[in-house]
Each structure stands twice: as C-alpha cells, then as structure tokens.
C-alpha cells in the first residue's frame, strides 16, 4: 500500500472509508447482476418455449456410425464451407467398403488410355504418372508383357510409416491418399515406396492459375500444389459418387476389374461385367507385386498368359532395372 508511511489514525480512517466504498460497490454489483440474470432467464425461457418438443422423432446417423433419435425441433443443419467439408470427408473412408483392383496383364495392349484419362482428371503433366504402363521382361527367355502400374494402395504402406506430418495416410476403405495442404515436401515417401508410385510437383503445376479458386479436394488432389507430393488415389472422388475410377472406365481392352473386397465383387471397366473377386483370383492365379516386401498391396494382377498380340518394344532403350 502507498499509505504505509502515514500515521496509524489516519490509516484507520482511510480503512473505514475504503470498506464503506467497498460495501456500496458490492451491493451495486449484486443488484446489477441479479437484474441482468433475471432478464437472461426470462428471454431464455421464452426462447426455449418456442422450441418445445414437437413430438416428431427423427433417426440420425452420427459421425461415429451410431444411430440416434432426436426430436425434429432440435435439429439444425450444419453447413460446413465446401473446402472444409472436402477436407473432412477426404480423410474419412466410405464406411463398409474395402476397394480392390485386379489388373489382367493378358489383356493390356499398352493403349495408354488409362494414363490419358488419369492425367487429365488430376491436372498432371505428360511425364507425371499416377498410373504408368511399363514394358516388362523378367529374364531373357521369358515373355515380355505390359504392366499397368498404379499405386498399390498397400495395407502396410511404407510411405505412410515414414511421413513425418500425417500428410499421406491410409484410409479405412483402402486407398492411400495425400493431403497436399499438409505435405512439407520432404519426399521421404518417394524414397520409401518400392513401386515408384509417387510423383512430386517440382515446378508450378499445369493449370495452377485456372484451378486456384477451386476448393482443394483430397480425393481428387486438385488443385495440385507446387512442392508437394501427388499420387494415385484409386479415384476416391469417383468412388464417393459410386463410379469406377478414371483409368478403369477409360480402358478399351478390358484390363481392369475394380470393386469391393467386402462384397467380394469386382466389375470390369470395359465390359461392365461383375464377377466374384475371390473366384477371379483363384481361377486365374492372381498375384501381387513384390509381396515379399510385406507391403500387402490392394492391387492384384492376373498373369500375362495367352497374349494374342505382339509386344512392341519402342521403349526398350529406356528399359532399366
């Protein structure tokens, strides 16, 4: 206190004055508070009155999958901005599904229509592949064949393990996606991926100017961003609409089967024929790429037997590895 050095008498006088002032102030606060509180309760009751239960019950599915029942009166619709909605749903899988792809190597004639459809959907440059078709020959005597190679959407993905910021993630319905709003561009995932499935935006992506106002969609990875990773997404945006992936629909040769492991059914993108997934693998000796690495791919291959077309090796000079 500042008055410490004043004589005692004066101080007690001061104290009295202070306590009186304090008392008056307290009375003021209590009265004011009571009035304000009363007013608030009054308006509150009125407000609640206008929202009395209507008796109409609604069944709602909560985010965690529980079925809830609430009064119709208490329901207010939540309007997320589109960008937020896309961010949120992009990280959540479609419940009850496990997407799989089967690639029939006997049918691939390297038409590269899958690649074109994919690149135009995802705003990629010609040398950027979410899916690429490789000319393969395991050894000198074995038959060459074309290998369409999308991301294998591993169930034990090395890329997801090494990502330091949760930018790339495994979704509950199978696909491994990338959030380019989160990616820091360290490229550890490129180093870790044994299938060379990942692509980096080394420069400003094409169509960056045109697409800059589009809200970012994780499931489509558009707009693309400089300095981040982009990769095959199993066309998660199309799956949400109940459609087949871009590459699958674009194939003229019936190479791709796509479907749901939970339903044990896959549909051919060209013929639209639907067959049992397990039967297709069993009858055709389906296999996975490099299963010995323990990555557990969700893409399966049918061996390139009885190929009825010649192998065009225009790209043989580039063939390495």
């Amino acid at each position: 206190m500042e008055e410490n050095d004043k004589p005692n008498e004066e101080q007690s006088e001061q104290d009295k004055k202070q306590s009186r002032r304090k008392f008056l102030r307290n009375v003021g606060i209590i009265t004011g508070g009571a009035v304000a509180g009363g007013a608030a309760m009054y308006t509150g009751i009125h407000y609640e009155g206008s929202k009395l239960p209507s008796g109409e019950r609604l069944k709602l599915l909560a985010q965690d999958g529980r079925l809830l029942e609430v009064d119709a009166h208490h329901v207010t619709e939540v309007h997320l901005p589109e960008s937020e909605l896309l961010m949120q749903q992009g990280r959540e899988g479609l419940p009850g599904h496990k997407w799989v792809m089967v690639v029939d190597l006997a049918k691939c004639r390297n038409a590269r229509k899958c690649i074109d459809a994919c690149q135009s959907a995802h705003h990629l440059r010609p040398e950027q592949y979410h899916i690429n078709t490789l000319q393969m020959q395991e050894s000198k005597k074995t038959a060459p064949y074309n290998l369409p190679k999308p991301c294998q959407h591993c169930d034990n993905p090395p890329c997801v393990s090494v990502c330091p910021v949760d930018a790339t993630f495994k979704r509950s319905d199978g696909p491994v996606l990338i959030d380019n709003e989160r990616c820091i561009g360290c490229r550890f995932c490129i180093a870790a991926c044994p299938y060379s499935a990942r692509v980096f935006q080394w420069f400003e992506p094409p169509l960056a100017e045109e697409s800059k106002d589009i809200p970012y969609n994780i499931e489509l990875n558009v707009p693309q961003k400089k300095g981040t990773i982009t990769k095959c997404l199993f066309s998660a945006d199309r799956l949400r609409e109940g459609k087949l992936p871009y590459c699958v629909s674009a194939c003229p040769n019936g190479v791709y089967w796509f479907g749901d492991e939970m339903e044990d059914a896959v549909t051919n993108g060209t013929t639209k024929e639907t067959v049992k997934f397990s039967e297709l693998l069993k009858q055709n000796a389906g296999y996975q790429l490099m299963p010995e690495l323990g990555t557990k791919p969700r893409v399966y291959y049918l061996p390139p037997k009885n190929r009825l077309f010649p192998f065009e090796d225009g790209d043989q000079e580039e063939h390495k590895g």
């Binding site: 040398e127 330091p164 989160r182 980096f200 400003e204 981040t228």
Partner: protein
C-alpha cells in the same frame, strides 16, 4: 615461473582480435554467401525442380550434404568425450577446435535439410502435426539435442578463459563487454570449479549416446526403406565409423590452419599431428571393416537387385566416384600414414583435404545410385529422370552451407581462444612441478 604462466594466456589470446585480413576474409565469405542465397531465392520462387532431382532420384546433393554435415559433427563427441573420458591428456589443446567444428556442422545441418524441403514454410508442421513413428521426427529431436549439448560443451570450459581474457584484453570494447557478460562473474572459487567439472562430466557422458543417435538415426532415413543398397542392417555403425573418418579430416585441416595462422606451434605440436594420424588410421580401419561387410556380403550372393546396384557402383557410371571415395577416403590414407614422414603437418593437411572430399563423395554414392535403379523400371519419362545430374543452382546452395560453416568457425575462433587457456596453464603448472621435484 609466473611470467611464463602468464605467457600461456598471452600466447593464446594473441589471435583474439579483429584485424583487417580477417575482416576481408569475412567480407568475401559474406558476399559469396549472398550470391548463393540468391540461388536459393530462385529455388523458392521456381520450385525444387531447379535442382537436378526428379521423381526417381528425388534425394540428391542436399541430402548427401546433410549426411556429410551430421557425420562431420560427430567428431566433437569422439575427441572431447570418448578420448577425454578415458584420460587422454594430449587431446586437451584440440578439444575446443573439435567442439567448434561439431557445433558449426550440426547447426548448419539443420539448415541444409530445410533447403531440401518442397515447402519450407511448413516447417512448423513437424511440431504441430509430427508423427513419432517417422525417422525424420527422431532426427529433428536428436540433432537439436546434439546442437544444444555441443554448444554447452563449448561454452562451459570457456567460462574460466573468459574471466582470464577479461583482464588481458583491452580492446575492442564490445569484446571486453561480451567477455564480461559471458564469464558470468567467474571468480575461480572452489565451488565454481566443482560445478564446472561436474556438469562437464555429465555432458561428456550424455553426448556419447546422443552423438551415436544422430548419425544412427540419419542412417535409418535410408535403412528404414526396402530399397536395394539402403536395406542394410549395418547402416548405423557403418555411418558412425565413416563419420569419425570425415570428422578427423576436418579437425586436421583446422589444426593446420590455426597452428599456422595463429602461431600456435608451441601448443599444437607435431606430436598432436602424429597422434591424430594414428587415430585416423584406427577409425579408417574400422570403417574399412564395415565397408567390406557392406559390399562383399551382397556381392557374394548377387541377388537380382544387389547385382544391378553393385555393378553400377563398381563398374557402371558411378564407378569413378565410388573408387575415388574408397581409395582416397579409406585405403590410401591407411597405407600412407603407416610411414612416419607422412604423419607430419603438411602431408597430413594434403591427405586430410583428400579424405574430406572423398568423404563427401561417399555420402553422395550412398544416397544417389540406389535411387537410379528402383525395383520397377523407369520408363516413359524424360532423359533427365533417369540419371541424376546436379545443377548449378543446387551446387551454389550446397556451397552456401559450407560458407556458413566457415563463417561460424571463423567468428568463434576470432572471438575466443581456440585452445583452452586454463587447461594449458594447468598443464604448464604440472610440468613445472614435475621439473622442481
């Protein structure tokens, strides 16, 4: 006796001043740094594509350089902690040089890794959204810890020196003031000495596992992937043993220049060069042993992927670099240093510079060739995706990191005595006592 005791302090504080030649040297470094930073501004504007890295070889010079920097910084731990704790007395005049090198390389290593990021402005995400199972998080944690401990290991034994320097130095004014502040009222009481000795001991023990961790974790950035050439269980010790070779080369180069330019021949003697040479041979032999394991074992089996990888680095287009690194980085130094004439300062400087280059190239050979032959063939891409070629911009940005290291070493060695003064005085006293009795 008093006279020569003070002479030690005078000798060691003589280089502590700002003279024109050093200002010019710092000026040149600054200009060069700004030129290189201009290169970085181009990379920021245009994207990482201005470097030679592409989708297949996506880690190039920056990451090789990062590995080299982390490697070089390990020397602080070897000299001060390992040799110090087992009671090697001859290393005492070299401890501060080793710590300065360790601190400079470790601190700049953090910047090198940022230059490799596609989105450097998202660096805070490592802390906001960090996922603990990523080796990058481990690396960030241990490198930061190592920088902190190295800084303390540099600073603590400096405190008594600062108190001595405060009395000896009279200009420049800011330096005297700096000494005043940094010496934290050191009076040399018994209690103060005890605190310093005890905390030094704790730090010296602590830095051993941390130093091993930084380079082991750095090796795991590679070994934790299934790639041929990286998928190795001995990568941790392989990297650590190689780090000591690179670090000792750095210290020898620094020893030579400090001895010559600061006229410290009385303190950094030929004996020190001789001993460092033997230490270098020892760590090189260990490194050679790991190299034999790393290449001979897969070379004997020649699994499909290993065969391609080994063919590439033994006789393929990376062979020149590989053999340069192995010969000049390990084999030739081991053989030459067996001869006493080679263990003199000048021949050792030449050897150390060669080892320094070879060590850098070795990191490049570890990082790059593996990515040039992935499991699946590289097809339908432009030719520059197939084989990695560093660009001028990339080289300039890499040079910037070396310039920064040189600047840190120059400034620290100009502001403070590069040889611990009180330790030298203590040694001097002991010697005097020995002579009297």
């Amino acid at each position: 006796m008093q006279n020569s005791y003070d002479q030690v302090a005078l000798d060691l504080f003589r280089p502590v001043r700002l003279n024109r030649s050093h200002l010019i040297w710092l000026g040149i470094l600054t200009i060069a740094l700004f030129l290189c930073l201009y290169a970085y501004s181009i990379q920021l504007r245009e994207g990482l594509g201005v470097a030679g890295v592409r989708d297949y070889v996506s880690w190039g010079m920056y990451i090789s350089n990062f590995v080299f920097f982390v490697a070089s910084s390990l020397i602080g731990m070897l000299i001060s902690a390992v040799l110090g704790l087992i009671g090697m007395k001859w290393i005492r005049p070299l401890t501060r040089i080793a710590e300065i090198i360790a601190l400079a390389f470790a601190a700049v290593a953090g910047l090198v890794i940022i230059s490799d990021m596609g989105r450097p402005e998202r660096l805070p995400y490592l802390f906001l959204h960090g996922r603990i199972q990523s080796p990058i998080l481990w690396d960030v944690t241990v490198v930061t810890t190592y920088v902190l401990i190295s800084a303390l290991l540099l600073y603590l034994p400096l405190i008594p020196d600062l108190a001595i320097g405060k009395k000896i130095l009279n200009k420049p004014k800011f330096l005297v003031k700096l000494y005043e502040i940094l010496s934290v009222k050191w009076r040399g009481t018994k209690a103060q000495w005890e605190i310093i000795h005890r905390s030094m001991r704790i730090l010296l023990i602590l830095i051993i596992p941390v130093a091993l961790a930084i380079h082991t974790v750095t090796s795991w950035l590679f070994a934790s992937t299934p790639r041929v050439g990286w998928n190795s269980t001995i990568f941790g010790p392989y990297f650590v043993s190689g780090a000591f070779v690179a670090g000792i080369a750095c210290v020898i180069i620094a020893m030579y220049f400090f001895r010559k330019n600061y006229h410290l021949e009385k303190y950094i003697t030929e004996l020190h060069f001789n001993n460092m040479a033997k230490l270098l041979v020892l760590v090189s032999l260990v490194y050679l042993y790991f190299n034999i394991n790393e290449f001979l074992v897969p070379g004997y089996k020649l699994e499909h992927g290993d065969a391609i990888h080994l063919k590439d680095i033994f006789i393929g287009h990376n062979a020149g670099l590989f053999w340069f690194a192995q010969l000049f980085g390990i084999i030739i130094p081991i053989i030459l240093l067996l001869f006493r004439q080679m263990r003199k300062p000048f021949p050792m400087l030449i050897l150390a510079i060669l080892i320094f280059f070879a060590s850098w190239i070795k990191r490049y050979i570890i990082v790059v060739p593996t990515q040039e032959h992935p499991f699946l063939p590289i097809q339908h891409v432009p030719a520059n995706f197939l084989i990695y070629k560093p660009t001028l911009i990339e080289i300039a940005i890499t040079l910037a990191s070396f310039i920064l290291v040189l600047m840190i070493i120059t400034v620290l060695s100009k502001l403070f005595p590069v040889i611990p003064v009180w330790e030298m005085q203590e040694e001097f006293e002991l010697k005097e006592k020995g002579n009297q009795s």
